[in-house]
């Protein structure tokens, strides 16, 4: 509850965009895990990658591990880590304390916290919070990897451009800054992003995530189904507006005879022939890959002037954002989706 996720591993997240530091605590974390730092860094770097701002490889955020690790190996005590924020609270946000940004948390947060919330850079609602999620998720993912479970994701669509093919190349997708099943679509997606950027606007997209080699029999039948847990995590990631498993909304247009995934014996093992249900039936994994799609809305930060209100004076105003804003977060969000999925899967497997 609150800012804590998980039953077997409890992950507490904290931080505000322009506060001293962001970070997290993973309680009941398994002992004896030698952290694979280059592996973890690979994902932190991907999270920092901005497709259009720069072509050079981004650095990973600098994290500091405060507890739970000795000589590079987990001790079993809570694993706490922080990432210092470089920026300090600037003056450029003072305007935002009054004008609430459409599509952002500003207004609901103003109501919930009675104006005491930190609005600089989005405060606790900032996309920057996906950095601790990525660190924690990558540590979880390392444990899963060592069990043979691989998690990867890729961009299915950006705006109106949709890549029609699937990828089952976990390694390649995991290492790509802008993972796409058909490499030729990367350019098309970037064009779509550039086109929006030129207009001072933004675009969203869809991410598909795959959990390979997760065993059958994981999850709970009613509450806390595999789908419930994954969706709960995904809807924590800023800008996510939809989650669907397998064919998802498309399955509603299929007949039962098409939608049902028939079973067959393959080399002595029971397998589904198709995977329209995304690897989950009755809330429990069925041995196929768990596959789900996540809808990412267009970044709400745009340069076009927008109508909004001043929450103090309760007057209508026009907001004109300045500064640097990512006109599409979909490529970077892949790593947040994968990291969240890794935490959920490790927790579903009993936290070890």
């Amino acid at each position: 509850m609150g800012a804590v996720f998980g039953k077997n591993i409890q992950f507490a997240i904290f931080g505000e965009s322009h506060g001293p530091a962001i970070g997290g605590v993973m309680s009941s974390f398994p002992h004896g895990v030698k952290l694979d730092l280059p592996y973890i860094d690979m994902f932190l770097k991907r999270r920092n990658h901005k497709a259009l701002y720069t072509t050079k490889r981004q650095e990973a955020d600098n994290y500091e591990i405060l507890s739970g690790v000795k000589d590079g190996v987990t001790t079993g005590a809570p694993l706490a880590f922080i990432i210092r924020n470089g920026d300090t609270r600037g003056k450029d946000y003072s305007e935002l304390e009054n004008l609430v940004r459409p599509g952002h948390s500003d207004y609901p947060a103003f109501i919930k916290y009675n104006g005491f919330n930190d609005v600089s850079g989005g405060g606790h609602f900032s996309g920057r919070l996906t950095a601790p999620l990525t660190f924690a998720g990558s540590v979880a993912r390392q444990i899963l990897r060592d069990k043979g479970i691989e998690i990867y994701s890729y961009v299915v669509s950006v705006g109106n451009i949709k890549c029609p093919v699937d990828s089952d190349n976990a390694k390649e997708m995991q290492m790509a800054d802008f993972p796409v099943a058909d490499e030729s679509y990367k350019e098309k997606f970037i064009k779509e992003i550039e086109s929006a950027a030129k207009d001072g606007d933004s675009v969203g997209g869809v991410i598909r995530c795959v959990i390979k080699n997760i065993p059958a029999g994981v999850g709970e039948p009613f509450f806390h189904s595999v789908e419930s847990e994954i969706a709960s995590m995904m809807f924590s990631i800023p800008a996510v507006k939809g989650v669907e498993f397998g064919k998802g909304f498309e399955i509603t247009r299929m007949r039962g005879s098409e939608a049902n995934d028939c079973y067959e014996v393959q080399s002595g093992k029971i397998k589904t022939v198709t995977n329209n249900n995304g690897g989950v039936t009755g809330g429990i994994t069925n041995g196929s890959d768990v596959v789900f799609q996540v809808a990412i809305k267009p970044t709400p930060s745009i340069f076009k002037p927008q109508n909004t209100v001043n929450v103090n004076t309760k007057t209508n105003e026009v907001l004109q954002l300045k500064g640097r804003h990512d006109s599409c977060i979909v490529p970077r969000a892949t790593v947040a989706v994968e990291s969240g999925a890794a935490l959920v899967v490790l927790d579903l497997l009993g936290g070890k």
Copy 2:
């Protein structure tokens, strides 16, 4: 966790389709609530309605309240209730103990429970479990109604037929057995269902649910956002394969300037002009109606022969289902969606 949902009110669900009884326990339930039994029955009746099997009004399931209510008023002690199962475990399911039904929980449950699960009628995975959900949700809904919060839903599509309009008639939708925003679509939907039924097949559809008058400022910023909690509940309902808020997956094809819900002052109150975000930004309600869509897959129980396996002999087999099966559960599922939403909203409001 497990079969328990909620933080402020903990709802424990139990029961198997052909066991002695199904039911639930609501802990920490508010005291002093005089139960509006006709109101609760209205929803239980709707849950029993089968569009094609019969034209006469269905009876509500017979529930018995075991604790937490005295002289018709809640005492504050855990509210426990049961619904007896009429059917006993029949012989007609014995075949299913070996042949796993595609699209159902049979195979993952067999793995998870090592074959000890009760397969009769789907056991604990049966859609029948939505009856206790409906009872509990209706009691929660009564409390919300008394605060002015109304929850309703309607069928947006069945198979390939989609009704293009919205409804804001909470009362009418709540009382309808087959709630549709444009009444003329009801017939089209029924035709689609009948067409599938004639083929021994089934169809799915999409439900839109609206939570009216929920105050701004409800929910948590990261984990346990309003969307996380609602989605977690929805994915507990059997056959749900997708959940989206506001424009959902469609919002990924909009530009930020279209997608952002601008604010304006209306009669001294701050309101959004549009509601593409479905009433939630930053995980917290923004004062607009909370609106979400739920994808219901075609009922996996179909009469067409299907390829499957015998889990004991690990041989390929052909399954031919008998008996009576609903070829579309979408209309009935509306009440489960609304009931689940009611439980979540009451919990988010602090359980009272």
Copy 3:
């Protein structure tokens, strides 16, 4: 939270003394356990035993299992059960609706529930709620027994009479209606109870509980230590006012050199020479038996007239209780203590 206990197995308890039924739901309960009904009944009978009212063996409460068990074997679905209440809400409690009984929950419950709580027979606060605890705990205990872990308890003192010896005879203690380490003390204890009963008064006592063969390494280091979890459960049992581990309060009068349990190698195994810490150091089991004492206050229901108030008129009154009241619940409480301990241990072991 609320009326739900446990992380791996969530046990929801419900019921009011004079309502239709009391019972419980155990979620995430292990599958494939063949219930040993005579074993479970043995403990339910012990709970019903009243040392002074009768010499004949008591019957076990009649429970009905509603779900989670098929052909006598657990299915893995939530295990729900009820025990019907024979008495109906009588008129003899009408006076209590106004006069709050000293030492009972009446007054705090009146405040918490604003007078809506069911006061008949103590309502949800009745000692009768230890019947579902005993049923659930006995099922848990059966699983532990099959792992070699035995839980037993015995009466250490009644009023001012204290038995100076310990028992390590698990089997004998488990089967005794009035378990005492030195059988000769049973009579002394009964005399003490009879003496209080003659005066229209009541007595309390101390129970020692032993968990044999629990492995080392169980529990959490800070929050949710073994002691935290056991104490949390014990203080749920009505009339418990103190919990101590090992030497408990007496250890505060020892020097560190006496109190520390030194280790030694015994036949290749590391063991403590003494067990002053009751088998737990640093919140985690150390391989010795877990031993704790529970203080049970004298039954608050006494026949002597008592000063109290009428909560409606806010006037001082004299209360004179009628009916049959147990003048010492200590012997019966042993089985509640053991059952609670069994649930905690099963949960600490991961729920299986």
Copy 4:
């Protein structure tokens, strides 16, 4: 669960004695609270006070607030803070990696974490973890103070010396480094500590804690009673071996007629005449002060040689501790007891 405590406010604790930092995260913490830093520092200083090592006032630990506070006022986002450890992992603990200290967590932690736990200074099991508990508890206590609820505690006994009187002077006790109800006992207690210290030994004691002005009607009837929650927290504090409410174990030697706290109307308010039940009946506060005693065992770190084992070689050894060890932690533990109680009470009141 794990290292997280609380339902409404979730407090995650972390850190190891000789790791980079210890600290905590309080999720769902109320917004708009201006931190009273001198008040908080007063308690941190008390925690650092060592009765015998020095006569000069101790400094408070240096904490850094990482999130959840802006301009000295809480924002409503998770409040995270750290306290850097001055010492680094020294070589003087290398011996301990093999010889397990009697009365300490070393052996159970070795088993639980398979030897991967950090043993330097006790690692995560160190009494140093009470510093984050004190910080978090002091912030909670400030909120309670502003509601008129005062928490204080004092040393009732050290070893065999017991102070026979009670204190109701909250302010004085809160400010004292060594709070005692009768000041003349402070010297007697110190003498008892010195006597043990001279012998290279240690002593324990009993602390009484009082929660003044907590309203009636707080807590849950069965699981998660006020006593359950407080005891669960107290048994998290290192060295606690017993918790009792009101007369506690002594109440077992009273008759019901003495033990029951009769009610009377005092100036129009209902009050108990006595407080043998420590302010809680039926698991719920009854409007009297909540009073409980905590048994603190003698510090397990003593200079006398002790028999123990080498966990690697499984041989019997003699352990001779060096360095500086507190021969009685009871005075310092008062502030941990009060801080833990403050967190529990704030949580029980709904976290605000």
